[in-house]
Structures are given as C-alpha cells and as structure tokens.
Symmetry: C2
Subunit: 459 residues, 2 copies
C-alpha cells in the first residue's frame, strides 16, 4: 500500500525531495512469482496455456516471471492436453497451502464444495486468490470476503462475470466517481446461443439445446444456464460491486427459457423485438429492482443485437451516462484472459487495493433496502376461448389492477385445443401489479394455458 | 508497492502467520487527500461538481475525503458556474507546486503550452498527475512519462481517450494477458455527430457543422475534430498502451471529413454501409497498420451503429477475442467521470502501479517496426467523362497495380459538368497499391474531379 508509507515532503533549498517509487522490473523485483492452481478443467488448461505461450509478454506485464509452481487436481493420473512435470501435479492441497513460496493461487473449480473450504484454507494460509467461480461467490461471497479481509488477502474475480468482458474492473475501478443507477446485461452465453439459434433457424428449444450441447456451447446438464441461475448469480455479484450490497441471489426473481417457443418468437418479431434473457438491476431511493429472465428487447438496441454465445452489459452512471460492453462471455480462452489479468493484477499489487476499496465501500452501504421487480411495459401471451365477451372480461382484470393497455393483437388459432393466441401489450406498470393480474387471469376459465408474461425493454 | 514489502512466510506450529495488510479506511488512512486543479473550463468545472456533489460516495471509494485545496486558472476574476473561496483560486502555480500537502494534481488545460511546462514542474515538485489532454500526451508523452518515472510519480489519463469509456484501464489493466492484434474505434464525437446528422437529415456538411457548433457538439474552431487530428492523437496513445510503442501521431495517415458529401452517403447506403471516421491500428509480425479517416462500415456492425456524439472502441486480443466498448466520448460529465476515477485511483495507489507497469512494458517493446496503411477492400468514387472506352482505361490502371475489382456501379450524372459518377469496389489489397492507382487515375484526362477513396470495413 503506497499511502500507508507516504512520502514526507521536506522543503530543502527550494527543491522538494520525494523518495522515488520502486519501479516494477527494478532489481529487487525480478525474482519470479510462484503460482498455485487448483483445478485443471477447461479454464485451468486455458490459463496454463496463456502463461506458457505468452510467458515473455506476461513477465513484462507483471515485472517478473510468473511460474506455475503446483497444480492440485482431483485425479493427477487423468490424461491432459497440457503436459506438466509429475512433481508439479498432485491431489494434495498441502503442496500449495504448505508452500511458502506460493503467494497467488487461482482456484478454477466449479460448484460450492470443496471450492469453499479450499478457498478458506488458502486465505488462512496467506494466499491471494483469483477465481472464476460465480456460484461460489454468489453463495458464499460474504464469508469468503470476510475471511480474506481477516487474513489481509485479496480475492480477484473478473472472470466470474462476463468472461473476457472487463466489467468487474469497469465498475470497481473505472466508475468509482459515479453513482450507478442501473445495470442490464446478457450474462449467460448458453441461453443466448439457444435463443439466437431458435430465432434464426425456427427450430424448437429441445433441438437447439441438443445442438448447443454437441457444439460445446451447453453443458451435459444445462440446468443452471437455461433456468437463469447462472445469470442470477452473476447479477448478484454485479449488484454487490455497483450498489455495495450483498443480495442473496436466490431472492432475485428468476425465470428460465421454458416459456420460450416459436409462437412467442414470431409475436416478438411482429412487435419489432427479439427475446433475450436479460439480467436487470436498477437502484431507486431505498429500493432495488432486480429480475433475471426472458424479455422482449427492441430490435436495433445493443442488447437485442447481442448474438450467439456473446455477453453484453450496459451500465448507467450519473456522471458517465450509458456505457455498453460486449464480448465473449464464456469459453476457455476469454475466461483465461480474465484470470491471467487478475493474476497479473494480484502480482503487481493492484488487486489488493481494489479488493480493500470494494470491501470498504460494501461495508458502509445502506441497509434496509427493499427489493422490487421494477416497472416496465409488459407483454402477455394468452391462449383463450374463442367466445363473446372474453376480451372484455380479461382486460377488465388488468384494469382492476390499474394496468392500462397499449395494444392488443389477436391471430387465428393454429390448433383448436390450445385456444386463440391473444397478445396484450401494457403501458409501464409495476411488476407486482402485473403478477397479481396474471394470477387472476390464469384462474379465469376462458384462459386455456398458463399465461406467458415478459417485460418489454425499449432501450 | 505491496510486493516490495512482501510478507515473510514463517511456519509456526501448523499455522502460518502473515502480516495483515492495512485496510483502506483504517485509522491511519482517514486524513483527507488534498487535490490541486489546473484549469477550470468545462471539464474542470465537471470534476469539481462531481467531487462536491458526490463527496460522501467518493470519500468511501477513496477511503478518505478528497478536498480541492487549490485551483490555478488564467483569470481568477472570471465569473464561474461554481463558487470557490477566493483563497482557493489563483493564477499562481506556486500555490500548488509549493504546497507540500497537495499530492495529486488534475491538469485540465487543453493545448501544448503552458500545459507541458506545468506538468513537468508539477512532476518535479513531487505531484502525481491526472489529465484529459490527449494532444499534450500524443505530442510530449515520451518526455512527460520519462519525467514522471524520474520523479517516481504517475500520470493517469483515462479521460484523454473515449471520454467516459474505460478503454485505458481495459488495455493497460484488464487485457494484460493478451497480445492485442487490433484496435478500431470511433474516437471523435464531433465528427461522428456531423456524419450521423448528414446521414439522417440529408443536410450539407457546412450546415450540420453550424448546427453542431450551436448545440455545443463542436468547438468554435473545429479543425482538430474534423480534420482527424484529435482521433489520430488518441489512436497514438492507444497504440502506445496496446503495442508498447510511441508512434509520432503526425506520421499516422490521416484524412478529414472534407471528402464526405451527400452523394457519397447515398452510395454508401446503396452498398449497405454507413460512413464513419474510423481510427484503425493493427499489428503484424514487425509492422503496424495505422490509419484515421472516413471509411465505409457495413450496416449492423457495432461501429456503423455508433450514432451521434457517442464513441466506440473495438479491441481484439489473442485470448479474449473481440471486445467492444461504447459510451459518451466527450462532454463535461463523462470526461469528469474518468478524471475522478483517475483521481481516486491515484489516491488509493492503483495508478502508480499501472503507470509503472505500462512504462516497463513500453520500454521493452521491439523497435524497428515499420508503419503501413493496412489491407482493406476499397471504395472509389470517380466523376468521369461519359465517353467510350473510359471504363476499360480506368479499370486497366487498377489492374496494373494488381488490384482486382469486386463490383462497379454507374449512375446517370446529376450535373453535366462534374462528369458521370462511377463507383468501383475492389477486393482486399494493400493501401499502398490503392494510393498508387488513385494517383495514376487522378492524372487520367477522363477523370473530372479528385477521386474519393475510402477503405471498406465489413466487420
């Protein structure tokens, strides 16, 4: 910490003397940094590849060589695409926790355990951490950040949100002069890949999911991606960074892709929109509006035009106005890019500063904030009985909740049994009122299948 | 510097002890930081406004209050929109250089002198600098950065490029694991505002320029914006950050808006493109391709869809792939956002680390790199005599330079005297070959007015 050892300003015969800072790359800083790695899956392999392939470049960036000292994996015998000397690879965590020459450890495991216990042990043994594990941080962030502060260590996690998009640094380092009012993003590449393919090819959800799995864009078990969990965990981390508050991710209203079918995509297209899974957070006076799920997004806006496995984040700050970021949100090398930048940032001392700064801001955040679903125009798709008086009945239910209607579209039914598709677009209204109206509508005997209700995002 | 005072790792009865880092906001860090400001124009006023209006927020971000200690301006008597106590405002630089309590100074003057001399004096008197002056850094960057290194001080300049877009941090902190292969951006909001207006309203350049001046989007003297100087200076800084090399900005091929007229915009539209002033840098093995000027950009690509006074930057790294940033590139508050983030970054010690790191990388960059104009498809607009054999003659000149033709469009002339407009689209070829062909074509008697030749950017 530079300011803890701040220079004394002595006035000496007109010239002020200031101790020169030590330069990165100066004599006492040329010894290598020894890195520990836990986990050697897709991301871990990418990190080792970058560290090996760009060794000279990275040692210039960090002011010293970065050497992979030891890698801990579950099964050291498993064949791997990158060869490591056998004494550098083990399943024994004490090879890292007990090695005082290792100062920085990248924990590249998924899931909650043993990742949580490993991180706590590493922090207590004096290691600075780098991780890409958003589930771990969203679930156990307060405990891990507290443990890091107690141990005087740092946790860097650029790779946990938006893959290679530097959104963590943007919020926690570059927008510090702003009060951020909203964050809106496409944070899950798998679901965006599926939606884009369904839109382009007219295929059914299950067929596209199978394609995504065969092309490596979706996991064998894609639940966390398609039910919105992954995007919601990332949003919870962004909320912590931007608004200084830990919101339990499971308390954020969350909707998956299950409601999206080709009929819905056609209606969206007809209304000049695309369907995207949007993670949305905005801050009011003492409220937070949070939601993750499919939404109708006006064509031509940057979020609507985010295609395939790309991620995108738009942030609004009071001074900077609207900022937009777009890049590969997942995949081996984009994620490795963020992990390696964090390793370098930790080696040069920047991560420690940012982590302490963010902790200080987080600890002083207002409490007592209530969470709402926000205000948006809504899109409602109903399948209704083709009978007189039905439209008047249903719109009356919306009116009773104070919801005014912007437009109605009715097309002939494709199949008799599912009723006539009816689209109702509302003016801007609170999510809670729409939820109540949808509950009441779903109970109406003229409504033949569960209503699909999506927010409409016009900018 | 954290690693200069790295902890000793002692093994004590199973538990390793690590000195805790001092926390931002802990007891010895609560004393305020005293800030000096030089210049109180649009940006300086914005900075003071943010520091005043968000004082609590900023003091949490920086771990301590940031107090404007003294502001130096040319004319302290001039009426200002923000009131400062008279003893805080003077035209006397020694009020800052001679005040040992001031550690950070934001230099918010435009132009080269006295900005250069003031910065050198401030560095020598031990101050860390923050500036938004891209002309100064593009012209005198090597001298100023050297002086900062000599004095053990830092220069932070996020606000010099892309206004509120955090592109400096992205390149110098977040993409450090990448070898960057290209940077392409819309870096001048004034010229983009003019182009967008010409495109939307069908107005002539001079009329739109007058509108831009009356609405505050263009300076009274807009030369540096419309002739490409401003974007070129920003590109030179980006090249330094991304490729570790100081390229004299005046050596970068640079073209202004003077060739853009409504006929050109109509042809671009017909070809599925928009015209944008693109600053382009890409790195080959031992070459740099650099150019700033109008280009045809394929509609639907992020750069083509960058409207009005917005800026945009797209960066490609070997690990991260393509990244895209979009935001307000100028204006009081977006620029103030970047300046304040740099002030906070300097106060917490992050800027010093990044500045030293960038210097170390820059000093070790390869020399002997040659500068080229790159390879692109080209768009050529000619006004030619309506006579037999002309097209064969002219396309023969292109063939002689090894340039192959992708398509030709000929429309009837609107005015007899300017000849028949003829559009030739070439396949991808080196800029140098196109330049030679254009020279030869301009000398051909069938060519009635100087040829307009623009690169075509399809992605």
């Amino acid at each position: 910490m530079r300011h803890a050892a701040k220079y004394d300003f002595e006035e000496q015969s007109g010239t002020q003397t200031t101790p020169r800072r030590k330069h990165i790359g100066s004599d006492d800083m040329t010894h290598p940094v020894h890195l520990g790695l836990v986990g050697m899956g897709t991301v871990g392999t990418g990190v080792v590849r970058v560290l090996q392939d760009s060794a000279d470049h990275i040692s210039r960036q960090a002011g010293r060589p970065i050497i992979v000292e030891h890698v801990v994996v579950q099964n050291p015998q498993k064949p791997r695409s990158i060869e490591l000397p056998s004494d550098q690879l083990s399943s024994d965590m004490s090879q890292i926790t007990g090695n005082p020459s290792i100062s920085v450890v990248a924990v590249l495991l998924g899931g909650l355990e043993p990742a949580r216990t490993i991180c706590l042990d590493l922090l207590r043994s004096g290691k600075d951490l780098v991780t890409a594990n958003k589930a771990l941080l969203a679930e156990h962030g307060p405990e891990l950040f507290h443990a890091a502060r107690e141990a005087g260590r740092s946790i860097a996690f650029e790779a946990a949100i938006g893959g290679g998009i530097p959104i963590v640094a943007a919020i926690s380092e570059c927008l510090t002069g702003n009060r951020i009012s909203s964050i809106r993003g496409i944070l899950n590449g798998t679901s965006n890949f599926i939606l884009t393919k369904m839109e382009q090819d007219g295929s059914a959800y299950q067929d596209v999911l199978a394609l995504a799995q065969s092309e490596g864009y979706a996991e064998a078990d894609p639940t966390m991606d398609v039910d919105g969990t992954d995007a919601t965990q990332k949003l919870a981390l962004l909320v912590h960074l931007a608004f200084g508050q830990w919101v339990p991710w499971a308390s954020i209203p969350r909707f998956g892709l299950e409601s999206v079918d080709q009929e819905l995509l056609r209606f969206a297209d007809e209304l000049g929109c695309r369907i995207r899974v949007v993670a949305d957070a905005s801050r009011g006076d003492k409220t937070l509006s949070l939601r993750v799920g499919p939404a109708l997004v006006r064509k031509g806006t940057p979020l609507a035009e985010t295609q395939g496995a790309f991620n995108a984040v738009s942030v609004v700050g009071d001074a900077v106005g609207p900022l937009f970021f777009h890049g590969l949100g997942a995949g081996q090398m984009p994620t490795a890019s963020a992990v390696v930048a964090d390793i370098i940032g930790t080696v040069v001392g920047r991560s420690a500063i940012t982590f302490q700064q963010a902790s200080a801001v987080g600890m002083s955040a207002q409490s007592g904030t209530s969470i709402h679903g926000g205000q948006n125009p809504s899109f409602l798709r109903l399948h209704v009985a083709d009978a007189p008086g039905v439209l008047a009945d249903l719109t009356g239910i919306l009116g009773a909740q104070g919801i005014s209607i912007d437009s109605v579209i009715q097309h002939p039914a494709e199949k008799e049994q599912s009723g006539v598709p009816l689209i109702i677009m509302t003016h801007c209204c609170p999510t809670e009122a729409v939820d109540r109206a949808v509950d009441a509508l779903n109970k109406n005997p003229a409504v033949r299948s569960p209503i699909c209700c999506l927010p409409v995002i016009n900018e």
